[in-house]
Structure formats: structure tokens, C-alpha cells
Amino acid sequence: MMQERMGTICLLVAGCSTLLLISVLLFMVLESWPVWSAVSPLAFILGTDWNPLAEPLQLGIGTMILSTLWTALGALLLAVPLGLCCAIFLAEFAPQWMANILRPVLNLLTGIPSVVYGFLGATVLVKFFEINFAMASGESLFCASLVLTIMVLPYIISTSESALRAIPPEYRQVSLALGVSKPYLTLRVLLPLAKRGLLGAIILSFGRAAGETMAVLMLAGNTMVLPTSWFSKGEPLPALIALELGTSEVGSLHYQGLFAAGLVLLLFVLGMNLLLALFRRDRRSGVS
């Protein structure tokens, strides 16, 4: 009886939070609806001119999407090798006491507010680039990527470590019985087995990096130029929304365009997470 009631209550609460997600999506679609009829979705996504106040108005977020990809993929390029090595070390090689110190420290990194990262980056990194590379202005997509790297590292490490630990002990025992060396066991046996989990870790952190706002807003430079290299300035999607939503006129196409940009970002990150879920399910039915 008691359990039954608990069950219904939990169902209710869970249902509410699911409803919340759906209503957010619905709201974004409704708010951005006029944009999709004013500009075709393809022109909106691929267009490189964003000037919603000009006559005729230009709504194209291609520049921002490209900037988002640069920063997020750049962050992954740096974070994945580092994070994987860290995870392998923690799961396989680190002595118990050392892992017990390192793990909480790494997890603490997730607790640092992103605005603090952004602020540190703006005062330290931007200045560093200005002085050492004689740049007129130190902000760049690379700068944003560097900070994002630190921000997503803990996610990569903890997810890939648990993927490595989830491998059944039989594999280790068999390898030991065959007299295989530890590096061989790790690189040739464990890594291929945990492949899906590791890929999941990468996708998860990509979603995180693409959606991060504050640090990127303070470091990417926010220019409208199409970024041609990692070291040029750009304006990632979250930065665009954070910058302009506050001052846009409610109900104008500018406002709706920002919602449309948000919808694109949301679908993008949501798609990433769905992909992750797909990998997770595969893994479960796969190894164990």
C-alpha cells in the first residue's frame, strides 16, 4: 500500500520534470515561429550576416554556429587526450591513496562557477596573449577553447574512468593469467572494450562545451567575422543570445530570431545527448 503510493508520487514528480522539458521545447518553437516563416531554416542556419535591426533585416547564424563548433571541437581536441590519459591513470595505474586524493580534486573542478573561469581567463589569458604574441586584442576562440578544456576535463575523466571500471574483472584475470604486461592489458584489451563508454564521455563533454555561455562570452571576442582559424575571434551561439536578448525589443523579429538561435542550439545539444543515450544502451547490451 505504502509502496504503491510512493510509486505514484514518484511517477507524478518524474512526469512533471519531463513535462518541463517538453514545455521548454514547445515554448522555444512558439516564440521563434515567425522567424521560420520570414527566413527559411536553411538560410537561417547557413546565413553569415546577422543584423536584425537593419533594413532589410538579416538573420543568419552561420557565423555563430561555426564559432560554436570551433570553440567546442577545439576544447575537445585538447581535453580528450588529457582526460583519457588521466582516466586510464586513475583507473589502472594510480595507487589507491593517490586516486583518493585526485578524484575529489578533479570533481571539485566541476563546482567552480563558469563566470569565475571566464573572469580568470579574461584577466590572465587575454593579457597573456596580448603581451606574448603581440596581438592587438587577446580574445580569441582558442582562448575560449582553453578555458572550456579545463571546464569539461572533469566530465571526460569521471565518465571514462567509470567506463573502464565497468569492464568485468574476468578480462583482467585472464590477461594476468596469460602473463600479459599491464600497459598491453590497458591499451589492447581494456581500451577497445570500453570504446563505447569513452565515446559517450566525449559526446557528453561536447554538449557541455557547446552550451557553455559565460566563459565563452568573456573570452571569444564577440565579433561578427566568419572565423577562419582557431585564433580568430568569433561569437558562439550562447554568447550571442546572452549578449542581445536583454536589449532586444520583446516581440520583434530580433527577439524571435534569438529564440530561434536558442532553439537551434538546444536541438543541437539535445541531439548530442540522444546520441549519447544510444551509445549507452548499446554498451549495456554489448559487453556485460
Binding site: A54, T223, K233, L243, E244, T247
Partner: protein
């Protein structure tokens, strides 16, 4: 233990439900309040630049007096209700004309045809919103060329003048770093209207999320040039320097007299002569207290 947990969960659910109930009830009670307040309230609306100033003043005003009879003993003992809404200067003029608001808030010059539609109306200048063209004090331009023409400013921000040397041969061959506000902001609109005149700002310009951040950027980057609210120039004295535009220094006197050109007026507009209550509030806005708020928000108050 289990019972305790159950209690906790049900409490949480109750809280959530209570929260839901409240939000759905809120809109119901509001219209009732509005109709009751309709006849005696003052409605202002328009420019999003001016609205925060007016909203702050309206708050102070209602806080101080609470009822009308305390402002003026002849008035009945009715609560003071002032509504402030935003929607842009155009909306301010339009709704003042059609009576949606009693006083329109406009942060640009009134057009002649708009003035013609309100022959009995009143236009009251509360102050000006001025932008100074600011550079880092370490930039030699401060000594070499402290006077820029509007056209030079326009060419710098349009990206035609890309290095300081192109501006003046005595200046170093370093790129100009353009610092601007994001598109929607009032400042960028003023700048577009008064300086750029439809020429787009260079895409290389760095957009900053607030006036404070813009001033900070200019203060720490020796090659930066940006438009900064004149209020902030005073706050950051020594860290950023304002250049003269067409030989006019952006001082409060020059802005108030209209000699400094990169500025726009902040206006209150009424279609007819304001009634007694409206006049009292306008008087309050023009009093020392009101003008102090104008100054605190980074604008130049009108001369008393």
C-alpha cells in the same frame, strides 16, 4: 525512517503544487487591481533607455508620498499608482498620441510631423544621453590628435581606417581595436544614428556585454577605441580619455547646450496639457531628486 521519508516527499509535492497554484492565480487577481487603479493612475511608456530612470523615480515617488493628499493637500486621499512600460521611442510617441499612456518617453529628437500632431502638447527635456569617443590614456593619439571629426570617427568604426598610423602619420603602426556595445543596446542605436548614419560598423569590432565592460576594455587595451557613456568617463577618470569631436569636448555644459553632437535628448511627451497629478510627477522628475537619478543612471541631467 520510511514514514519520515514519505512525509518529506509528500511535503515536497505539496510545495510544488502550491507553487503551481499560485502562478495560475496571479494573473486573475491582477486585472481586478488594474481596473480599480485605472482612473487614478499615471501611465508612462516608451524608450527603453529612459524607462529605468522613470521607473526608479516612480518607485521613490510612491515610496515617499504613498497617497496623493500627501503630495498636495488639495488632492483626495488616493494611493499613488504609476505604471511604466517600455516599447521604444516610437511606441512612446504613438501611445502618447492615441492615449494609451499619459506621458510618452522618447529618447530622440521629435520629428516635425509628430510635433504637428500635438499642438497643445508639452515636450519636456529631462536630460541627454551622450557618448564620448574614448581611448586609452597611454595611446599617443591623446597628445598627437585629441580632436577627431565625426567623419574620422565614422571611418574608424566602419573599418576604413584600420591602423592608428592611417589616422595620423605620427601615430604607431598598430591596428585599431574597436570596442562596441551589442546591437540591441540603446548606445549602439545612438551611435548608428548620429555617427555611422547607416554605414555598418566593421565586423571586426568586439562586442561587449555592458557599458562597464566596454570602459574596462578601453582602460586595459592601449589600442582600443570605443564609445562610452559620458557618465562612465567621469567614474574612470585617468583610466580612459575622451577625445574631442569636431573641436567640442564632451563636458556636461557642452552636452546640455547641444554643442556636443553625439548625444540624444531624453524627452517626456504629452498630447494635451498634463493634469494636476501628472504635472506633480513631472515636477518631481525635474526636481533635484529626479535629476539625481538621471545622473546616477549615466545620463547628463538637463540644466536647472
Amino acid at each position: 525512517m520510511k514514514k519520515f521519508k514519505f512525509l518529506l516527499v509528500s511535503l515536497l509535492v505539496l510545495l510544488v503544487l502550491a507553487g503551481c497554484g499560485q502562478t495560475s492565480e496571479a494573473p486573475k487577481s491582477e486585472p481586478a487591481k488594474e481596473t480599480a487603479a485605472k482612473d487614478q493612475s499615471i501611465k508612462l511608456g516608451g524608450s527603453s533607455t529612459l524607462a529605468p530612470v522613470i521607473a526608479k523615480c516612480a518607485d521613490d515617488f510612491t515610496e515617499q508620498y504613498k497617497t496623493w493628499n500627501k503630495v498636495d493637500p488639495q488632492l483626495p486621499e488616493e494611493p499613488i499608482v504609476i505604471f511604466v512600460s517600455t516599447g521604444g521611442s516610437g511606441f512612446g510617441v504613438k501611445s502618447a498620441l492615441d492615449g494609451t499612456v499619459n506621458i510618452g518617453l522618447v529618447s530622440r529628437e521629435m520629428k516635425e510631423e509628430e510635433k504637428a500632431k500635438m499642438p497643445n502638447g508639452k515636450i519636456i527635456k529631462l536630460g541627454s544621453d551622450a557618448l564620448a569617443i574614448a581611448v586609452n590614456p597611454q595611446n599617443p593619439v591623446v597628445q598627437v590628435k585629441p580632436n577627431l571629426t565625426t567623419d574620422e570617427v565614422k571611418r574608424i568604426f566602419a573599418g576604413e581606417i584600420k591602423t592608428w598610423q592611417e589616422l595620423d602619420a605620427k601615430l604607431p603602426n598598430r591596428p585599431t581595436v574597436l570596442a562596441i556595445r551589442d546591437l540591441g543596446g540603446g548606445a549602439s542605436q545612438v551611435f548608428d544614428e548620429l555617427v555611422m548614419k547607416k554605414t555598418p560598423v566593421a565586423k571586426e569590432a568586439i562586442q561587449l556585454p555592458s557599458m562597464g565592460a566596454l570602459a574596462g576594455k578601453v582602460a586595459e587595451n592601449a589600442d582600443a577605441i570605443g564609445y562610452v557613456s559620458t557618465g562612465l568617463i567621469k567614474q574612470n577618470e585617468g583610466k580612459i580619455s575622451a577625445l574631442n569631436i569636431d573641436d567640442v569636448t564632451p563636458t556636461n555644459e557642452n552636452i546640455a547646450s547641444g554643442q556636443y553632437k553625439i548625444a540624444r535628448p531624453l524627452l517626456l511627451v504629452t498630447k494635451e496639457q498634463p493634469d494636476q497629478k501628472q504635472q506633480l510627477f513631472i515636477d518631481y522628475l525635474l526636481s533635484e531628486k529626479g535629476l539625481k537619478v538621471v545622473e546616477e543612471m549615466g545620463f547628463v541631467p538637463t540644466a536647472k
